[in-house]
Structures are given as C-alpha cells and as structure tokens.
Symmetry: C2
Subunit: 350 residues, 2 copies
C-alpha cells in the first residue's frame, strides 16, 4: 500500500494504535501536542518533537539559515505552550551535506539560540551528523506544567467557546509571496541563459513585510499562555495551529467527541493577508482555514468565561462547541453551513 | 570554512561552547551521553537523541527495515544506560520518501516496538513526514536515575580501573562482511549486464552470524547496569562505545582531566572477530579500538573494587586511569606504548 493512500494522520494512526504505555511515568503518549510524563515532581513533564526536511518544509533558496534555525525551535516551543506548559529545554539534531560551511551552520545555530533565549529555554544536547543530500533538522522540546494546568485536546464540551489567538493565513500568504518571487527570479535566470550572475533580481516585498515575517519568523504564543494564566482562565482544550484551523478544529472535536460551529466573519485576518489573497485570486477564508504554519493557539473555554476571554488582548472567540452529531461546520457570511475538511498541510498525501 | 576541517566533535564544540543553561531544571547540558535534568522528583531525568540518515548510517541494500528499527531505538537506550539510568520513553521521528510502502514502515516500526518492549520502554510520540530523498530517523530517549546514581564521563580518578563489557570490534567486522558481500553481488550484477533479476546471489555468511548480529541487531547493555547495581558497584565514570574504544577513552580522560593505560592483551575479542580480521588482512586490535558501533559500556571503578568488578560476568578490566600528564596510551603485547588517537567514527570528516 502506498503511504499517500493513508496520508500522514492515517499512517500515524496505523503505526501507533497498538501502542500501550507500560511505564507508570507515561501519562499520555501519542495523540496530543506533547507526551505527558510524571516523574514524581509536582509538575508534569511535556515532550514534543518535530522534524524539518529540506525541500519539504523549507526551501533554502529563500529561507535564510538564521530564520530557519529560529523557526525550527519555535514550532516545538509552540507545542509545549499548546499544552499550557512552559518550555525549558531543547535538543537539536542536524544532518548536514557537504555544501554547508561552518559559517552556514553557525548562522542556523544563531537563529536557534535566539529563539531559545527569547523563550528562556536551554539547548541541552543533540546530534550532528552528515547527510548525503539535503539538510535535516530534528528538534525535541521539553517543558513542564503543574499537573492541574495541563490542557489536552480532548477536554472540549458542548457550549464551550472556540477561541484563537492572533490572526490566521498570513504565514501561508507569505509562502505564496516567496514562491511567486522565486518563480519570477527563475524565469529571469532562464531568459539569461542560466547565467545567474547576470540576473539583477530584486523581489517585490514592499508593504508585505508582515506576511514574510509570519512565514519566516513565526512566534510561539507564550504571551497568550501568560495572559490566560493572569486572567485565571483554564482552557478546556487547546492545541497550536500548525496544519490549518480546519484540520486542528477537527482534531479537537474528534478527541473531545464533539462538533463545532465556526463563523467565517469571526475568523481573525490581517489586512495584508486579505490584500494578498485578493491579488492572487484566492479565497481568503480558505487560506485562513487551511493555510497552516500560523502557530497561533486554538482553545476552548466554558461559556461562563465569555466576558473574561473577550477582554483578552489578541484573542478572538470564533464559534462554539456542539454535540458530536452536529458535526464540524463553518457558517459563512451569508449564513450557509459548510462541513469542515481536514485538508491540512499534509506533505505525505501529495 | 569546510565542516570537514573541524569534524563532528570540533563542530559541536564550536557551536555549543557558548551555551549557558538558564533554567534551574538543567543540571547538565551538552557534553555527556545524556543531558541531566532536575524536575523536582527524587530521580534525575536523562535525555538523549540520535539521528540516523540513509546512506550515512545505514545501507538499505543489506539492512532489513525491522533490524534498522531495532537498532535505531537501541542506540538511544544505550546512552541512557551509559548514565547508569533506566530508559522509560522514546519519541520517533521519521522522514520517508515515496519509495517506501506502508508495509515497509510497519516493518521498521515493528523493530522499534520490539526494542521498546525488550527494554520496557514506551513509544510516546514523534513526527512522521516526507523526505525528497532517503530515509531519516531521529529518536529521542528519556530515562531516569536516582540523583546519586547518575554517572558522568567526568568522574574518573587516577588509579581507577578501566572496564569494558562484552567484546569489541565485532559490529565493525560485521559491517566489513556485509560490504564485501554487497561488492560481490554488485560485481555479479554488472557482469550480467545490470539485469538484477538474472543474478542468483547467495551471500556467504555461514559461521559469521555473530558478526552480522552485532552489526544489525546490537544490544544496549541494561543487563550490565543491573549487575553493577546488584554488586553495589558505582562507576566513577561511564559512557557507551559507539564511536570506538579509543575515541571514547579519550572523551573520558579529557573530561576527567586524566590519562590512561590500556593493555592490548586485555581487550576482549570474539573468536569470529579475530578470524574475520585475519581474513581481511586487518589488525584486529585496530578494529577493536576504532571500529565503533559496539554499544558496549566503558566505565571506571575505584581500584578498591578490583575483586568485585573482576567477578562480574561479561566485564573485563582492560587498564587503569593515570594522571593527565601521562596521556592516553595503548600498551601492546610486546610492551610498547602507543598514544591513543580519537579516530572514531566520524562521518563529517571524510
């Protein structure tokens, strides 16, 4: 059977459905943003890992190594925050091909170090080896949270409010912009008879800096976690939006055995995202629902916390949780209901 | 600067020398088999990670996926044992190219699951993604040890005895054997005009099964850790032998600020290793000192424990620790001293 028939989620499900934790220190294994471990302290230990492959997750033709280093750490810290935890350590494994110089790797590491410093995280180990082909980066993040604070994907209840931080779709628009300018550049190179030296190319990014920043230099929303804590709000479920809002909503609803209703008019968008979508003749709601790489937080809170959550800076209530039989749906501006699809960002599917 | 000028250890040193842990939960970062963390329980938490790249660490022409899965977990568990700890969890990240089927990945996972079961370890998470080229495997292992039990590389003292478990060089000889048979096969394929179907090739492995097993299905020596514990022996320093005895001895001596004397005649060898080295016209001591992938334990104990350690099954005293000014040396059968070289197994150097 080809892997593409199952896709990433199908493959993971098939590989992991028979895993039964044997150790009492394993509280939660596969299936959430982090594994949850209990090593006897007052706090739970959270562990998450992500692998980034050149050509699949990043294109070094337009991603500076320093930004790549930053992002590769941030996406892991985002998973710790998504459990309502505090990240403390990362390990970094790199596989490098010969075309990288020591200075290149120092750039990459500088970006990683900046991300660690920004989030008060220690780089405590790793592995550095060679690759016959592209660059591979594997990072594991470790964090902690008081036992009663840990938030899983599975705790949403009917009538809970669905909330997101920040705005959505901007990172995806940034990627489209970078891809478009790369295509223009390659076209100019072809026209110059493949003589790259003779092409004086200036990409047109002016006025779109925010989209580039969201794609190249995403943030992990530790600030939102801190605000929730200050406001005394304990989400009933939470995850980070890495594969697109639609896909993540379906994870929460599947694991919580619920449905949901999301209002298109409530989905937070940045002005630049909307302009860029218009320019590319794309539906901005589709981009926000399925774009991915937002690294914003998606969470649910009890309806009784409506006032408190509505006052939180940079948090928007976008809908509510329903009974499971109602399914997951988007309600458009003109009042139509469309079932959500877990299109997500699935490199194994195409 | 090219990475090959620095090599793996030089590059890691350069990238990590300015890292200063900020979190009180980080007791030890980069520089040992594992990071050591303190999350407030009675036990320390140990974390290690390893990355295996196709074409660099394994050749799928002769490594069955099930064995690869086994080995990729075992090499990480070995690092936990090398801290005198007990492994509890692993996370597994895979990057797959399209040529793998679902059944292939199930084979790989089966091997991982077998290794986890054999060592009572839970697979608690990971990442599964695609690769444009070969297979990449990144595993992180987490374990624990009572604070007073953790053994670092840096605790060896002059006059301590140097001990190793099992025997050395067999995995390296297994690799030579596999490479030789692969070369014979490829020669036959060439002679058949590249028609692989027409080649009826049977590799000659008979009588060499032990070498193959050491290469393809290594063990992590949790049994030795258990025996040391039963005997009440607390090593002063320890690490696992993944890059070759010579290289690892130099790590221990550098980090402990000592020298050492190792006796060639004391180095444990299997009969098949010696026969194979003879057949390939290689010096068996060189193979044992520099071969790598043994995943045996190298440790030091106070001289006063000579009787106890000598009675341990499958453990051999091979030399002793000296003051640093004496350097690290091998004493040959005819009494000559040769300084050790950290040749090791360094894919970034060649």
């Amino acid at each position: 059977m080809e892997i593409s028939e199952l896709g990433e989620f199908g493959l993971i499900k098939r590989l992991t459905e028979n895993l039964k934790p044997q150790n009492k220190s394993t509280l939660k294994g596969v299936g959430d943003d982090c594994a949850v471990l209990d090593y006897g302290g007052t706090n739970r230990i959270l562990v998450t890992t992500d692998m980034l492959m050149e050509g699949v997750h990043f294109d070094l033709q337009y991603v500076p190594l320093r930004h790549l280093g930053w992002k590769s750490v941030i996406v892991n810290l985002s998973d710790i925050y998504a459990m309502n935890g505090t990240p403390r350590q990362v390990t970094v494994s790199l596989a490098l091909s010969k075309r990288f110089s020591v200075e290149d790797i120092e750039e990459l590491y500088d970006g990683m170090r900046l991300a660690c410093e920004a989030h008060h995280v220690d780089l405590v180990g790793g592995d550095t080896t060679s690759s016959l082909t592209g660059l591979a980066i594997s990072i594991t993040a470790i964090g902690e949270a008081p036992a009663e604070d840990v938030v899983l994907r599975s705790g949403a209840q009917p009538n809970d409010l669905v909330c997101v931080s920040g705005n959505l779709g901007a990172a995806y628009m940034g990627l489209q912009l970078l891809e478009r300018e790369k295509a223009v550049y390659l076209q100019q190179v072809r026209e110059a008879g493949d003589r790259r030296d003779e092409v004086m190319f200036q990409p047109e990014f002016s006025g779109r800096e925010y989209l580039l920043e969201r794609q190249l230099r995403p943030e992990a929303r530790g600030d939102i976690i801190a605000r929730l804590r200050e406001a005394g709000i304990h989400p009933t479920s939470m995850m980070d939006i890495s594969d697109g809002l639609s896909s993540e909503l379906m994870h929460i609803c599947t694991q919580s055995h619920t449905g949901c209703r999301i209002y298109e008019e409530r989905i937070p968008l940045d002005y630049q995202t909307a302009v860029m979508a218009e320019e590319l003749n794309m539906n901005v709601t589709t981009c926000a629902m399925n774009g991915g790489e937002d690294y914003e937080l998606l969470f649910t809170v009890p309806l009784t916390l409506n006032d408190q959550v509505s006052q939180l800076q940079d948090v928007r209530v976008i809908g509510y949780i329903t009974k499971p039989e109602l399914g997951c749906a988007l309600i458009t501006r003109d009042g139509q209901e469309f079932p959500l699809k877990a299109q997500g960002w699935n490199p194994l599917k195409s």
